[in-house]
């Protein structure tokens, strides 16, 4: 009896140790590059490589940060990115939430084909979409504008958002909307007052997906934006890369700074994110 208990205890301990080992190693793998970038951003001069492995290098300085903010249009690029990203996220989620509701609740011709089409559009490599996007935005006369970028980003992230929201709406019993209709709301009212508040986890996931995709995007921005004043931070940082010299210190400092907004959004919505990632795993 005692031996059995001992063996169960040992198994528990081993499991605990293994789980924590995997988590710690995974965390280290994720955090290491960030620490290296942080270290580079503090180095005096523009050295990318160094034999020094310490996190805070000898003669550590914030000069790179200071000159990035003072000598370049970094803040302007950050602002551009923020406007484009937030607008994309809000517009994308708004459009996706209503479209997904229609796909989830109503019967109409082409519903199934529409869903499959949305899904298959996700299989096309992003690079292939550059040319048609460029042509469309050019014809709309929206080159080098926020609006052009917002449209390009919103439409490309819509299919994923629609699918994830539709999947979530499908789990919400129809009787809730019917109860709301009997109670006195319109169909739109039932969506607004009942379905949307209940869908916060899925809406958060869709918002985060839109936010991170738009925030980190480079390829479309490269094609649509051509004046440094309109650049997003991804394009702006590459401005620091010269033909003969690259300002690695500033590059690293910029890289550190751009993670802050994403980090804030993630931390703020982590509660929703965790429940959202387990969507549909439990019935009811």
């Amino acid at each position: 009896m005692n031996k059995e208990r001992l063996s169960i205890e040992r198994k528990k301990q081993l499991k605990f140790f293994l789980i924590h080992a995997v988590i710690i190693i995974s965390a280290a793998i994720c955090v290491y590059p960030l620490l290296r970038i942080f270290s580079i951003s503090l180095r005096p001069g523009d050295k990318l490589f160094s034999t020094d492995l310490s996190l805070v290098p000898a003669g550590a300085t914030f000069t790179a940060y200071a000159s990035l903010l003072k000598d370049t249009m970094f803040l302007r690029w950050l602002w551009n990115s923020l406007i484009i990203t937030l607008a994309t996220s809000f517009i994308g989620v708004s459009l996706a939430s209503t479209a997904a509701y229609a796909f989830s609740r109503f019967r109409f011709p082409g519903k199934k084909a529409g869903l499959i089409l949305l899904l298959s559009s996700q299989m096309i490599p992003a690079g292939m979409l550059i040319l048609p996007l460029f042509l469309m935005i050019m014809k709309l006369n929206l080159m080098n504008t926020y609006l052009g970028m917002i449209i390009a980003y919103s439409v490309s992230s819509l299919p994923f958002s629609i699918w994830i929201l539709k999947g979530y709406y499908d789990t919400i019993p129809r009787s809730l909307e019917e109860a709301a209709l009997v109670d006195g709301t319109s169909q739109v009212g039932a969506f607004w007052r009942i379905i949307l508040p209940l869908s916060t986890p899925a809406l958060s996931i869709a918002f985060l997906f839109n936010f991170t995709t738009a925030w980190n995007e480079y390829l479309v921005a490269r094609v649509v934006l051509f004046s440094a004043k309109q650049y997003t931070w991804t394009l702006g940082l590459f401005e620091l890369q010269g033909q003969y010299i690259t300002q690695w210190g500033m590059f690293a400092a910029g890289s550190m700074l751009v993670t802050i907004p994403v980090l804030c959004v993630f931390l703020y919505s982590s509660k929703w994110l965790i429940s959202g990632l387990t969507l549909g795993s439990v019935k009811g």
Binding site: E178, A179, V182, P197
Partner: protein, 366 residues
């Protein structure tokens, strides 16, 4: 409160006809239970009255007003759903006051009505809780409370007790009966449970395959089932059916099946109502099968059978008796004094016997 009329209601989903000419009049203050097996169209009928399903044909009238195209919120009805349909992101109080808040009712009036409903349903201490913090019975009471606060013309209940366990269902059944006495409202209640139908209803509407089979008081549908379906559906345990032919022997009507021969008394089925050779089904409820010594003493038409199985239910006992190829169920006082395998005598209580025409399935006996 209000009256409700269904006039020739037809409902089709694509080519599938779910309701086929339903005509029912429900009077003011009446408690009507619509009962039938799964898929008979009872819930669809209720949803059409609520405005949650379109009407393919016919008219629905509330207080004489045609409501076919009226939005659910304008029909002055309140509905209690099978799965309660409580808004999970609102407290009990918010759930109950939702409809009133939508109508921008005065705050004091809302508070008073919620308070009143919560008192009736013993929910006062739960008003600040979220639905997930409540038990099944409490959730059901909140769903009923949400309907009460609106003071609607008609209450609709869609199988409200089907998600509860047997004990809670019994308790809630009594609660609903008490609530009806208190509110004296027009209530339309859908269920597949005939016990709920028999105990709650003022009148029962029995449906099958989209057609109303019979409308009547619980005792009417139990004692005088209009057809074979109603006879088999109402009553637990279900009625025994014997299939055979009628023959006329002078003034006497004789029923003959391969295993049983009976003389049908004229007060039950006069000879002039019968065709010689007419194929019929004779129905006897298990309570009206007299078995054993009692049968030997009381009956003239005795039938010999073999006791197959005894099921003790507490104060009653179910006896499964084989008569030739026919199996009959008798319900008798507990502790029947014979063991399975032994021969028994049985007879029927003719007063409560039912004869149905085999072709039309309609009742032909008195």
């Amino acid at each position: 409160m209000a009256s409700v009329e269904f006039k020739g209601i037809v409902k089709k989903f694509n080519d599938n006809t779910v309701l086929n000419g339903v005509d029912v009049d429900i009077k003011d203050h009446e408690f009507v239970v619509i009962v039938g097996p799964s898929g008979c169209g009872k819930t669809t009928l209720l949803r059409m009255l609520a405005g949650l399903e379109d009407v393919t044909g016919g008219d629905i009238l509330i207080d004489g007003l045609r409501v076919n195209e009226l939005h659910p919120s304008k029909r002055q009805i309140a509905m209690v759903f099978q799965d309660y349909a409580l808004y999970p992101h609102m407290t009990v109080e918010q759930n109950m006051s939702f409809a009133l808040r939508l109508r921008k009712t005065d705050k004091a009036e809302i508070d008073a009505r919620v308070e009143e409903a919560a008192t009736i349903l013993q929910l006062k201490s739960f008003l600040a809780r979220m639905p997930k913090q409540l038990s099944g019975g409490q959730r059901q009471r909140v769903a009923i409370g949400r309907a009460i606060v609106r003071k609607p013309k008609v209450f609709l209940f869609d199988e409200p007790l089907s998600n509860l366990d047997a004990k809670l269902r019994e308790e809630m059944r009594v609660e609903i009966a008490k609530l009806y006495q208190r509110l004296n409202a027009t209530i339309i209640y859908v269920t597949h449970d005939q016990v709920e139908a028999m105990t709650l209803a003022g009148r029962i509407v029995i449906m099958n395959k989209g057609i109303v089979q019979q409308v009547g008081s619980p005792i009417e549908v139990y004692r005088k089932p209009a057809n074979l379906f109603v006879a088999g559906f109402i009553g637990s345990p279900t009625m025994n059916f014997m299939h055979g032919k009628l023959s006329l022997e002078g003034d006497k009507v004789m029923f003959t099946s391969p295993d049983i021969k009976l003389s049908i008394p004229p007060y039950l089925l006069p000879a002039n109502k019968v065709r010689d050779g007419q194929e019929v089904a004779v129905g006897v409820r298990p309570d009206d099968v007299v078995v054993g010594r009692e049968a030997g003493e009381k009956c003239s038409d005795k039938i010999e059978g073999v006791l197959e199985v005894c099921e003790l239910l507490g104060h009653r006992e179910n006896l499964y008796i084989k008569v030739g190829g026919q199996r009959l169920l008798a319900t008798v006082e507990a502790f029947f004094d014979r063991s399975p395998g032994s021969g028994v005598q049985l007879c029927f209580n003719y007063k409560n016997m039912h004869v149905f025409d085999k072709a039309t399935e309609n009742r032909i006996s008195e």
